[in-house]
Symmetry: C2
Amino acid sequence: MNQPKYHVFVCSSSRINGKQMGYCAKNGAVEIIQKMMMAIQEEDLTNQVMLSNTGCLGVCQQGPIMVVYPEGTWYGSLTVEDVDEIVESHFKNGEVVESLEI
Amino acid sequence: MNQPKYHVFVCSSSRINGKQMGYCAKNGAVEIIQKMMMAIQEEDLTNQVMLSNTGCLGVCQQGPIMVVYPEGTWYGSLTVEDVDEIVESHFKNGEVVESLEI
């Protein structure tokens, strides 16, 4: 496999039974995923950043949740307004956005 | 965050619109997730191994797909019969199952 530099996971509250139920999806996670996918493409980062949606990541009360591997950075209480800063700082410049870490 | 030693992602073909459509879900991915969750609990690895389901991981033709972080190991063409070997070799003994890597 051609390993991406960053593999980004955002909870979309997707259960394995096919239902979508949970805190993150009800609080803007889908819009965050859509905006981040667009930002990754606009910044020409598609070869470096892979974006995946997930089921519950276990810390719903701090959602919407994003995890970035391989470093294992956990971001929480995200809004669509946070997407550009994460893309610019973390994915383009390699600097974790500490104010959004949980 | 209390970072797990291994964060395991298995594609459950979960789209961000809440639908579950795709190769992995049609080819046993949900059963793989269920068996792995049980194996993690039976082997008392819940403090070390976190298991999440995901949307499409982009290599459907090699599915069902599993990715293990932080090392970034990609496993493919999985069946429920492969679960015990991955848990025993990779999660308990730290040795990647090379025969299942893609």
